[in-house]
Symmetry: C2
Subunit: 336 residues, 2 copies
């Protein structure tokens, strides 16, 4: 197994990745907002021990990373790989991260909740991702007494996670529906089913790369299975709509759009992160529709590996100007 962005999963032409996050807290220890340094140390100690006892057949051995030892650049690169949240990166003093070697499983300790189990897999893989997260949850529950009330379910710092503590999401590549103005319609229908759509790798709700995250918002009064089924059903409808919209585009206009992006990426010498995302989105669409013959894993791999921090993690620290030149070179080399 390799990292999610290096693989092409089920429905990978549209579904880039699936993520499951489960929030848990430990009984009798205050929520993170009210924790003292001693509380953090206590939770860290509990989690170190617990992590060591998670059966290795679930996700291998979890590596324990002391977030104090992580540089700003490495933390930034973790955010870009979707392993940790920006909040966790920005307040990482005395925090622990538990992570599997393929990075598909990560557990943030003392982020918004004491325990945040995350499983991320390539493509549409809600059942498998949930199954792994659930097994880890079960294993941890044998080591740790969770804060739980029959009346509500699992207790969380923020009431929006109360109940299942589950957030399931899929990252969708929607270059056509996001361009023809129908994404807002999708977004509105999704919200009626308790789901939300938001842009990824971009400002606010816009996404430079036409990548959107669809996730469940309701955690109270709904079973995990119902939440997952609901998310999957809407995902399948969005896939169908994006595919219909793709089939309806004028062929030569689409080819022109894809081939221009390909031509620019093959020959440019200076490439900003923002422009890279726009162009990669176009060649991902082109690869999906058989217009260009490139490795289908390449677009997402380049998109993640050419983010500012990932680029520096893989190629050394650089000034912003040098990054744009390095990014240009790497993209050219991969398209040769």
């Amino acid at each position: 197994m390799s990292e999610w962005y290096k693989s092409f999963g089920n429905e990978g032409d549209i579904v880039v990745s699936t993520r499951i996050r489960i929030a848990r807290n430990i009984k009798k220890i205050p929520f993170p907002a009210r924790m003292t340094a001693e509380h953090i140390n206590e939770v860290n100690a509990i989690m170190k021990k617990a992590a060591a006892n998670i059966p290795e057949d679930i996700c291998g051995k979890l590596m324990v990373i002391d977030m104090n030892s992580v540089s700003d650049e490495e933390a930034g690169a973790m955010i870009e790989r979707h392993i940790i949240s920006p909040e966790f990166a920005h307040h990482r003093e005395n925090k622990l991260l538990l992570i599997s070697s393929d990075e598909s499983v990560s557990i943030m300790v003392c982020e918004e909740d004491h325990i945040r189990i995350q499983v991320i897999l390539p493509g549409l893989s809600l059942e498998t991702a949930y199954e792994i997260a659930d097994k880890i949850d079960d294993a941890l529950s044998k080591e740790v007494e969770y804060a739980y009330l029959d009346q509500f379910g699992y207790l969380t710092q923020c009431p929006t996670n109360l109940g299942t503590g589950l957030r399931a999401s899929v990252m969708l590549h929607l270059p056509v529906t996001s361009n023809n103005g129908t994404l807002s319609v999708i977004s509105e229908s999704a919200s009626k089913f308790g789901l939300t759509v938001r842009g990824l790798y971009g400002e606010g709700s816009k996404s430079s790369a036409a990548l959107y995250q669809l996730s469940n918002q309701i955690t109270l009064g709904i079973s995990e299975k119902a939440a997952l089924d609901n998310l999957k059903s809407i995902t399948m409808q969005i896939i169908k709509k994006e595919n219909l919209d793709r089939a309806a585009i004028n062929k030569i206009t689409l080819e022109d759009n894809v081939m221009r992006a390909y031509g620019i990426l093959k020959y440019q010498r200076i490439l900003s992160s923002e422009e890279m995302m726009q162009l990669i989105s176009r060649i991902k669409l082109g690869a999906s529709m058989g217009i260009i013959d490139i490795d289908k894993t390449l677009p997402m791999r380049l998109l993640v590996e050419c983010q500012p921090f990932m680029l520096q993690k893989l190629n050394g620290l650089m000034s912003p100007d040098d990054r744009d030149i390095c990014r240009a070179k790497i993209v050219r080399e991969h398209l040769e």
Copy 2:
């Protein structure tokens, strides 16, 4: 010899072509603005006979084209090749065009003046072009009595051509000075020397392809030699300035600009005439500066042969949308 736009002449990195035009009128026949149909027939008869007597060692045998027989498309393609003026194309009833087989020499009969001798050669070639035009003028003067007054020189319909009747011009590719805002400075200095700069292949004074025509404006009280020397001297100064400006551009920015244009041209599927010119200008600069290794005659050849009428002359009549697709294909094929 082939057409001017298919060859790379002296100083061809910057000077695309040289044009000489000599205006002459026949004594005792009214200027074109006041000619009757009989007068036109009379001039046509005189010119047919005179053309047949021009020594063939000057420019081969001149073909006589009855402009009544020329379609709108063919006339448009002649304008795009700079063989005739738009005015001549638009009012071509009963007009004659005399033209050499390589199209370097053309004589418009009854355009603004009875006789407009034009010589167009690739690159900077003022002396040679003038020499050819002068020989044709001499040969015609043996057949035709020119309207001439010692006090003024050759008489022309418009007083701006009175005297020598000579307009000499060079077509310059100035992608850098036209982009860095210094072209207006050049233009102002040129006007002090009786020269004018105007954009070609573009709206008004702008040129999509960064092609500018520098020409003399003064025909009275100045010898042909002085006018040509003056034009050549200013041309050499502009070449020097454009070259200095080219050398001063940031190397990677320039490469990026050139290679992106190259990448788009190699892969696009829909290409408007306007965008083609902008991109061709960038690859011409790239070829001049050794950034891309293409045949140096290719940019101007594509630029002329992909103009709307030339494209149809070479590839058949098409709708505007189909032209953009055909243009895209031809450009791709030439860059393969």
